[in-house]
Amino acid sequence: MADPTYRGAASVAREVELLARIAEGDRKAFEELYNLYHRRMARFLMRLTRRYDLAEEVINDTFWVVWRKAGDFRGDSQPSTWILGIAYRKARSAFRAASRLAEQNLTIESEPLTAETPAGTEELRDWLGQALVQLPVEQRLAVELCYELGYSCEEIAAIMNCPVNTVKTRLFHARAKLQRLLPQLATPTAAAAQAREGRAS
């Protein structure tokens, strides 16, 4: 779901202004932009890697580029699309260097993570985290960009520097695989009921 804090026109204008100041070497502006992005980038990178050191490396590599290249931002896209595009490239390289999971997962047929019904939302979210790690890196990132960060198909295509249809295809395969790994997602009503019961108790 889109984060309203970052989606409003005012926040976009603020980020554009911050980038312009960073291009002039304004360190305060840089720190403000870093703090704006750190939490959500850390969150989605942690879900993808489960390693904070790797997530931090990707964030700092991304903002190292932002510091040096802020002057190259021309406003053709939203600042968040530009920054996440850098993060995507850094994350893809870092994840592949850290492990060859993405390539391995293209050939390994995974079993469902559990045959049991999750006890509640927290448990289902944990299983979802484990399932996401098993997706190829491009599919993982597409899922996070769509469902967590709330980007449109066109924005994800810009971030991943690929055609719109490629984004749709990546999500299509990711959804199919997630449903195999987490059958509970295919019957959301039952899972939601379980979750409600869990919260009530």
Binding site: M1, N60, A191
Partner: protein, 239 residues
């Protein structure tokens, strides 16, 4: 048939777009078309529920939040390490030193430059001396025209016993002062000579007479050619 194909196509297209209907980023006519299909298609409706649940799961507040402070400090340290002047210098294009500039930079500090220059000068001197030494011949043949001297170099028939050589020389009025070397060359002087004359002296008449005597003996295989009478110099030396 066409209607069925149209339905299948609409279903596939809707299926692909459901994630963006779920995250609220589908707009306009596309959104209307997808919503219309979902109302009529049970599988798409179920998939939309699954997609919304996925969105809800992934956007729920995290149990753990990550403080940006320590990471930011690391990054700022990294920026400071690469920047002598905070701010612009990090982004300013680094001017590549010219090749000659790089070379001179390597000579710093000055003390090192002087030491290296001194060593280079010494090495150059040694190299020049060695090259001069190597350029000089390390041997000379007896037939090479050399300054004439007192010693006459001769070679006898190899089958000649040493005693017979002595007898031959005695009868010719000569005595051995050099050799024989590995090539069988003897250095001889007229019997009356006390010592070889200094280099640069002219050939003595006695030496010429001795050479003439030996020329007539068949047992003498080779006699060092002597310079002409009006020439200056010393005899060739055996090395």
């Amino acid at each position: 048939m066409n209607m069925n194909m149209h339905m299948a196509s609409a279903h596939d297209e809707t299926w692909l777009l459901l994630p963006w209907l779920a995250n609220g980023r589908l707009t306009g006519a596309q959104r209307s078309q997808v919503e219309e299909h979902v109302r009529a298609c049970a599988s798409c409706a179920q998939e939309l529920s699954a997609q919304r649940q996925l969105c809800a799961l992934l956007t729920e507040p995290e149990r753990v939040t990550y403080a940006p402070g320590p990471s930011l400090r690391k990054l700022l340290d990294r920026i400071d390490d690469r920047t002598s002047v905070p701010g612009r210098a990090a982004r300013a294009p680094v001017r590549e030193p010219a090749p000659f500039g790089r070379l001179t930079a390597a000579w710093r500090p000055p003390g090192l430059a002087w030491a290296a220059t001194f060593l280079l000068t010494v090495a150059l001197g040694v190299l020049t001396a060695t090259a001069y030494h190597w350029s000089r011949p390390v041997y000379a043949t007896y037939s090479t025209a050399r300054p004439a001297g007192e010693v006459l170099h001769v070679a006898f028939d190899r089958s000649l016993p040493f005693g017979e050589v002595e007898e031959l020389l005695r009868s010719a009025g000569a005595r051995v002062v050099e050799g024989p070397g590995t090539t069988g060359i003897f250095g001889i002087v007229p019997s009356g000579s006390v010592a070889p004359r200094a280099a640069g002296a002219t050939v003595s008449p006695q030496l010429r007479v001795l050479a003439a005597r030996l020329h007539g003996d068949a047992r003498v295989r080779w006699i060092e050619p002597l310079p002409a009478e009006d020439s200056q110099g010393s005899p060739p030396q055996d090395h």
